[in-house]
């Protein structure tokens, strides 16, 4: 895990997505976010922070892609607005015999002339998917036959981070839709 960087593939999970064509630029919607996406903390054995690249794009492109694909969901926001991502942190903490993955998203946004709104989302998952247990279980086959299925049903740290990240983004866009006049 020391040299390992998870592959971040964070997007808004959306059923039966429109086939992607191109991302439009929306000059009336300003997106302010950390230049790198997401700012990820991998607090594992080396206790160091890493900036990871999201394979599905940075915050700005994710927002513009969402607006391009589903403009009908954001009628008021498309008239003008501002989104500022204050904090987006994915964390994977490996404590030898336990593992904790978490996500934290803080953002401010305004739609048209409406007042500034604040959005905060936090979630985490705790389990025993640690490197120590994987290493120990690899020594003999039986624990490996126990541990790998457990790992599979829980998801490894990469899968957990991606799931938490997608849930956070999904929650954020759902709130934006709700306040942008999406008609049901």
């Amino acid at each position: 895990m020391g040299c390992y960087s998870p592959s971040l593939r964070i997007y808004r999970p959306y059923p039966d997505e429109v086939t992607f064509t191109k991302v439009d630029f929306f000059p009336k919607v300003i997106v302010l976010a950390p230049t790198e996406f997401p700012e990820a903390l991998l607090d594992h054995d080396l206790r160091r922070k890493k900036i990871l690249k999201n394979e599905y794009g940075n915050w700005e492109s994710l927002v513009y892609k969402e607006l391009s694909l589903h403009p009908k969901n954001y009628p008021k926001l498309l008239q003008g607005g501002k989104i500022q991502i204050l904090e987006f942190e994915l964390s994977s903490v490996d404590s030898c015999f336990s593992h904790k993955a978490s996500v934290k998203l803080k953002a401010e946004y305004s739609i048209g002339n409406e007042a500034l709104r604040y959005f905060e989302y936090e979630d985490q998952s705790k389990n025993y998917n640690s490197n120590c247990i994987l290493g120990l279980s690899s020594l003999t086959l039986v624990p490996l036959l126990w541990f790998i299925p457990y790992l599979g049903f829980q998801g490894n740290s990469e899968d957990q981070l991606n799931q938490l990240g997608r849930n956070a983004i999904s929650a954020f866009f759902l709130e934006l839709e709700k306040n942008s006049g999406k008609s049901n």
């Binding site: 997007y11 999970p13 086939t19 457990y150 599979g152 490894n156 899968d159």
Partner: protein, 278 residues
């Protein structure tokens, strides 16, 4: 008897699928082959009564008994079941995965092997070739249940199904989704090909996805069936770990605790669904 006890304990501790988390619809990392009118995404094999009956009532009989469901490898997939998988594929944006319902199409599959640019040739033409040789010369269309059966082939990016069981169809769809989401799909496919422990992670992901999909859709009947069928099916991997290729005595023994645990666990579905909605 001791072996059964050990498996029961292992599975009980282990089988921690949770349906309480929000479901993530898929968004494939790579774009693959584009389908056309002459090569549609979903194809069904022509029904051949004699061939399908021999397959269902002779070769598949053991798998029906093991999973305790007569629809396993019955080579007669209903339109309703097909629609469930088609909807799953559409909702998860799996636009380049081929689905063959009870179809034997070796020429088309060899073509797909050469066209699948998501996996490099070195792996496709080695491990992928072995999988296709088996598909070509020991067709699942006939032998499913005794050698082979419902499966997803990552080297051709094709789902081949023979059972009229929606939870199995969605489980195979779950494999396609899992592979499509990976950036390092080659490594993931290579691990999948490792005997004994290679497929355990992948099978768990696909089963977990199927259960969460049905939970998302509020389909408690399908969730119950998932516990009744996918749990014992998964225990064959833990027990035999080559159960998808050839049945063996350990696979057979491992399935009993899987049945017991699946039937016990399905009782907690209402409680799990209530926690999900909170």
């Amino acid at each position: 008897m001791k072996i059964l006890q050990i498996f029961l304990i292992l599975i009980a501790v282990n089988y921690c699928s949770s349906i309480e988390k929000p479901y993530n619809y898929g968004n494939p990392y790579y774009n693959g082959v584009v389908f056309s009118e002459s090569d549609p995404q979903f194809e069904s094999g022509e029904p051949y009564v004699i061939v399908d009956s021999i397959g269902s009532y002779f070769f598949a009989i053991f798998s029906k008994i093991l999973l305790w469901d007569r629809r396993i490898n019955n080579h007669a997939i209903s339109e309703e079941s097909k629609k469930i998988l088609i909807r799953y594929m559409q909702e998860n944006n799996l636009k380049s995965t081929k689905v063959r319902f009870n179809q034997y199409a070796p020429i088309s599959e060899w073509k797909r092997l050469s066209q699948n640019q998501k996996i490099p040739g070195t792996l496709r033409y080695t491990v992928g070739t072995i999988s296709l040789l088996a598909y070509t010369f020991i067709p699942d269309r006939v032998f499913a249940g005794i050698i082979g059966g419902d499966h997803y082939n990552p080297f051709t990016d094709t789902i081949n199904v023979y059972s009229d069981v929606p939870v199995i169809l969605i489980h195979e769809g779950g494999h396609a989704k899992d592979f499509a989401q990976r950036q390092y799909v080659t490594l993931y496919a290579a691990i999948y090909a490792i005997p004994v422990v290679g497929s355990l992670y992948h099978e768990a992901r696909a089963t977990d996805d199927a259960m969460n999909y049905f939970a998302e859709k509020n389909q408690e009947d399908q969730l119950k069936e998932s516990y009744e069928i996918l749990t014992p099916a998964y225990s064959t991997y833990v027990g035999g770990a080559i159960g998808d290729i050839i049945l063996n005595p350990i696979t057979t023994a491992a399935i009993i605790p899987g049945h017991i645990y699946g039937r016990y666990k399905k009782k907690s579905i209402p409680e799990q669904m209530a926690r999900r909605k909170k």
